[in-house]
């Protein structure tokens, strides 16, 4: 009994320390120093929240660059229910879905789509595609928007993030910010 009372007391103290003081302390500094990041890197346009630069969105129209497939339910890119497809490497369904997507991409363009465009991400919210994945969609988007291919290429390049510190990670293109900029160009015209 003596042990249990001691346990209870020290547990409550540690719970206050690690479960209340510590997260509040971190929240305080985080909100103060890195306000935008701590609140979700939100993108606003004319006061309207259009999403987050870290969370991907689904694009189906030909005028947009398409994101990777997403396995979240009930709809793709549901930011309240992150999920991967969990399809195993020898599952026939994986092969079927890849082949179906490949066909969809090749109808619009003769260039082969890159691997990540045909496979679902782990989170189902991946905001990026690879530069190759963007490149193979340039022709379709340019045609649809009546823009010069070179101009679209240039915009893609400006939304390409290189490896961090020169070596970390992979070069990526942020699909949401890229599409937002394309929409802005049309609005300017």
């Amino acid at each position: 009994m003596k042990h249990l009372i001691a346990s209870l007391k020290i547990f409550l103290l540690l719970a206050i320390l690690t479960g209340i003081v510590y997260p509040l302390f971190v929240t305080g500094i985080g909100q103060l120093v890195f306000n935008s990041q701590a609140n979700g890197s939100i993108i606003k346009e004319n006061g309207l929240v259009r999403g987050s630069s870290l969370i991907g969105q689904e694009f189906r129209q030909s005028k947009y660059f398409w994101s990777r497939p997403s396995a979240t339910s009930p709809a793709p890119y549901n930011a309240c229910a992150s999920s991967g497809s969990n399809l195993g490497p020898t599952n026939p369904k994986l092969k079927e879905s890849i082949e179906a997507l490949r066909t969809k991409f090749q109808i619009d363009s003769s260039i082969k789509p890159s691997s990540e465009l045909l496979t679902a991400s782990g989170s189902g919210l991946d905001p990026h595609i690879s530069p190759a994945g963007a490149h193979c969609q340039v022709e379709r988007v340019a045609q649809n928007r009546g823009l010069a291919k070179e101009l679209v290429e240039k915009i893609v390049l400006s939304h390409t993030q290189t490896r961090q510190l020169g070596i970390l990670g992979e070069p990526v293109v942020n699909v949401l910010t890229l599409n937002l900029e394309l929409d802005r160009i049309r609005a300017d015209k």
Partner: protein
């Protein structure tokens, strides 16, 4: 693999060893000093804790008292966390009005977090309120890690001390681990993560208008929020691994960039590696600690190379240039594989890619690393105490071979230690294999399988390997949030944690009582190439003999099916 891939691997290991060395030195300082000493603000916090709890941290405990305190503390933790989840609907900090967690899921989650496993049958953003995440899970992330470190320190004291009844004070080991080690590191890591984009707030979920609105989505397009960074940092540092969100560190709000990925990856192995140095400093012979580190690392690299090779090969059934299913673009293959191997070598269990979608051999590597008993770096504390048990077995076997009395660091290894050690080595495989057998032989077990065929068997074997060794990662296709799996895996996690920690404390108590034997020409050296390779062999033989038949039915068959393109 290209130059960038190799450079990232090299950078990771250089940083890990450098930081591990200095942290190890600091941790040795923390555990060797009296309770109530150390850096000023931390020292004040520590003393205040003892004072408020009315505890004397200087009392030396026998192993039985130490175990009793540990079990009492775990019992309180269990009741508190279970009650918190069952009542979250009527408690504050629940802006999304989430319901109370079901009894079986709450039981599973509670055992999972008090045992430092962090297996997650539930989906974080859809199940738990901010209060449950913070006051429930974050607290357990700290204390369950600190309990593991306390048991390790007690075992090391058992080795160092002679003719002594006590093995230290549980409360002071617990409190010092949290206040002097885990908390400062977590604060630093949290801020690094926030700077990269990991969120940390208490806002309700944010509604947004996507660029394209589709029919199915009109209902709700919201961004899940929460105090994420503070929990992610301790989940990584304490080898807990339980994510704030369903997909863990794949989620861009948990792991937004390659830099955050590197920081989290370092945090997974930092303390386990550091503790090897701590052990060396505490026994006053750094070589002993390095022996452990080298033995662990040599097994680690074998499986890392296997997994990298498997994932960089093309899957012949798919005609894709690279295996990106379940992986994030920003991390690419190399960071995903490195993570999957680190997280299962340590008993962390967080993921940054979906293990279910790894190639058969890419998935075999994490599975084997868990099945070896989580001693390849392993959990904070628990990994090294598991490895020290293997070292005892190794000197015992070596002693039998040359006909000498086995000794480890000046302590005779006798019948009692060997009985306890064999229990420690036998219990996890028993739990894993019996659990798997049970699940595949009943409908309740089979109906949760997502991928059909041999991969489905792998899903079940992986689940029990993970729970039975306190890892917590999953082949997440398996629907484990059913009463059968919640109770079966909960029981497995419970046995795997406490059935191991208590015999370890018994060994610590028994070693502490013994006389120190001076080194003689007859002593088998416990450093150097010969001993290290012998230790590696013992770990591999015990592990592989037990699990190869089961592995042959799962990932190995699937690999052959994949190569030959059979269905």
């Amino acid at each position: 693999m290209n130059g960038f891939d190799f450079a990232q691997l090299a950078l990771y290991f250089v940083l890990l060893l450098t930081l591990g060395y200095f942290l190890g030195k600091y941790m040795a300082f923390v555990y060797q000093k009296e309770a109530g000493s150390g850096f000023l603000p931390l020292r004040l916090m520590e003393n205040l804790t003892y004072k408020c709890a009315g505890l004397n941290p200087h009392v030396d405990m026998t192993w039985i008292e130490y175990s009793r305190s540990l079990m009492g503390f775990s019992l309180v933790s269990f009741i508190f966390l279970y009650a918190l989840q069952r009542m979250q609907n009527i408690l504050p900090l629940n802006p999304e009005h989430l319901q109370a967690v079901s009894p079986d899921s709450a039981f599973n989650t509670t055992v999972s977090f008090i045992s430092n496993t962090n297996w997650q049958g539930y989906s974080g953003e859809a199940t738990l309120s901010y209060l449950s995440q913070m006051l429930g899970l974050t607290v357990q992330n700290f204390v369950s890690a600190a309990v593991g470190m306390a048991v390790l320190v007690a075992l090391i004291r058992g080795i160092i001390r002679h003719q002594s009844d006590g093995i230290g004070n549980f409360w002071s080991d617990l409190v010092r681990s949290i206040i002097h080690i885990l908390m400062p590191l977590s604060v630093i890591l949290s801020l690094l993560l926030i700077s990269q984009g990991t969120i940390q707030n208490f806002s309700p979920y944010i509604e947004y208008k996507p660029l394209e609105v589709h029919n199915a989505q009109e209902v709700s397009q919201k961004l899940a929020m929460g105090p994420v960074a503070s929990q992610v940092s301790i989940k990584q540092l304490g080898t807990n691994g339980g994510g704030f969100f369903n997909v863990n560190s794949c989620h861009p709000y948990e792991n937004p960039s390659p830099i955050s990925n590197l920081c989290e990856l370092l945090a997974i192995l930092l303390i386990p590696v550091g503790l090897c140095f701590t052990f060396g400093f505490m026994v006053n012979n750094l070589k002993e600690g390095l022996t452990m580190l080298i033995a662990m690392s040599s097994i680690f690299f074998v499986f890392l190379i296997l997994a990298l090779w498997a994932e960089f090969c093309q899957n012949p059934t798919l005609s894709l240039a690279s295996n990106m299913e379940g992986k994030e673009t920003r991390f690419g293959i190399v960071n995903s594989v490195l993570w999957s191997v680190c997280t299962t070598a340590a008993s962390n269990g967080s993921v940054n890619c979906m293990h279910d979608s790894l190639t058969p051999l890419g998935g075999l590597a994490p599975m084997v690393l868990m099945q070896l008993g989580e001693v390849i770096y392993g959990g904070v504390g628990s990994g090294l105490y598991g490895m020290l048990v293997f070292a005892l077995v190794t000197v015992f076997v070596a002693g039998l071979m040359v006909g000498r009395t086995p000794e480890y660091l000046g302590k005779k290894v006798e019948a009692f230690e060997m009985k306890m050690s064999s229990m420690i080595l036998l219990v996890p495989p028993f739990v894993v294999l019996i659990g798997t057998a049970l699940a595949v032989s009943c409908d309740a077990g089979r109906s949760s399988v997502f991928n059909s065929g041999v991969h489905g068997f792998s899903e079940i074997l992986y689940a029990f390997s993970s729970a039975g060794n306190n890892n917590g990662s999953a082949f997440a296709g398996l629907n484990a949030n059913t009463p059968f799996y919640n109770y079966a895996l909960g029981t497995a996690m419970f046995i795997a944690r406490y059935w191991l920690a208590l015999p370890v404390l018994a060994i610590a108590g028994s070693l502490a009582k013994k006389k120190q034997i001076p080194v003689s020409s007859g002593t088998i050296p416990t450093t150097g190439i010969l001993f290290t390779s012998f230790l590696v062999c013992i770990v591999l033989i015990v592990g592989s003999l037990t699990f190869i038949p089961a592995l042959a039915l799962g990932p190995i068959v699937e690999h052959l099916q994949m190569i030959y393109g059979a269905k």
